[in-house]
């Protein structure tokens, strides 16, 4: 994320624009600093220095480092969620929707390794409110999968925790790849993720066919 500093001196820009610009600059600085140091080792001083703003300006926009991180986290995750929704809406059938949504998520994370780390690894390290927000965000994936329950034609109902378990497996593998600096290769996981995720709902043959599309 490139930082965009305002020119020094009297620039004559409206106060709302300056405030918005400063806020975005601080968020950009947080993303860069967390990518370099990790969330726990990042300080407000690191962020203000990278953003070229005063501590007073920082606290005009955010209550603390956690609030700043949450603003960045929500900006990124809302972008991903919107892209996943848009991709899914291109299809009528649930399995295709899941495939499109997962492909979109992997594509974004693969193209933005720093943001991938920010939204998949740092929240676990941060814990607290950030960790809770992350778990709530992952619940979005759970809901996408739950919509496939009517597709299930098995002899027994699917276990209640099927979706949480599947999402746990998906996230576990993605986190592993990101933490091993292999975020750029995340899209290669798509066929295996699709097959394992869809098989409980639509059976292995159809899941395999969709995975290889």
């Amino acid at each position: 994320m490139a930082s965009s500093r305002l020119p020094a001196g009297r620039h004559g820009l409206p106060r709302e624009f300056i405030a918005q610009n400063q806020r975005e600059r601080i968020i950009t600085a947080l993303v860069d600093t967390v990518a370099e140091r990790g969330y726990n080792a990042t300080t407000v001083a690191n962020i203000t220095k990278a953003a070229s703003v005063s501590r007073r300006t920082f606290y005009e926009h955010f209550a603390d480092k956690e609030a700043c991180f949450l603003a960045a986290y929500e900006m990124v995750t809302e972008h991903i969620a919107a892209a996943m929704r848009a991709a899914a809406e291109s299809f009528d059938d649930w399995p295709e929707k899941v495939r499109a949504a997962l492909a979109t998520m992997l594509s974004f994370l693969a193209g933005e390794p720093e943001l991938a780390r920010l939204c998949m690894i740092e929240p676990v390290a941060a814990g607290g409110e950030i960790g809770a927000r992350h778990r709530a965000s992952m619940q979005g994936l759970v809901e996408i999968l739950k919509a496939g329950r009517p597709e299930h034609g098995g002899r027994r109902p699917l276990p209640e925790a099927t979706e949480e378990t599947l999402v746990g497996g998906i996230v576990s593998l993605i986190v592993r790849e990101i933490s091993a600096d292999r975020a750029e290769q995340l899209e290669e996981l798509l066929p295996d993720l699709i097959e394992l995720t869809l098989a409980p709902y639509i059976g292995p043959e159809e899941a395999e066919r969709l995975a290889r599309q």
Binding site: R156, A161, G169, P204
Partner: protein, 155 residues
């Protein structure tokens, strides 16, 4: 692959103990399917016999720093090794990959952590059929694995 600790770190000892229990139960001349059940039961018993140790495992695995993630990954890889042993027995339309075992292992591991974190480990055997279903589903097929859901594990 078993995480080997120095003997002085309670977390290393807990992970090592869990892995050793699961691996000992899993090893043997029985079918792969039966060994998955044996390994699962051993894990549940190990976690239940010392709740503080179980909570330590969850807290450390959830810490999120590089060292914690490396150690968590070692445990997932051990589980994936055990599951991956059934790859050759799989008779599906295409060969399975190592990735399949890693997703299934990650799914099982994250679910166990969530159950421990929520205090549900006391009823570990109750959710074991769901874990076995998830672990065996890629290898046995989704329909066949459903039979696991009807199993009542011995306590």
């Amino acid at each position: 692959m078993s995480p080997r600790g120095t003997g002085s770190d309670p977390y290393e000892e807990a992970v090592e103990g869990l892995c050793d229990h699961v691996k000992a139960a899993f090893d043997g001349p029985r079918s792969w399917h039966d060994r998955v059940w044996a390994g699962g039961l051993a894990a549940m018993r190990y976690l239940r016999e010392d709740p503080a140790r179980a909570r330590l495992l969850v807290a450390e695995a959830s810490r999120g720093d590089l060292d914690s993630m490396r150690r968590r990954d070692e445990a997932v890889q051990l589980l994936a090794d055990l599951l991956d042993g059934a790859r050759d027995e799989h008779e599906g339309p295409r060969p399975l990959s190592r990735c399949t075992a890693e997703i299934a292992a990650g799914a099982v591991f994250s679910t166990v952590l969530a159950k421990v974190a929520s205090g549900s480990v006391e009823r570990g055997e109750d959710f074991l059929p769901e874990l076995v279903y998830m672990a065996t589903m890629p290898y046995l097929g989704a329909r066949a694995a459903e039979d696991e859901l009807a199993v009542q594990p011995l306590r």
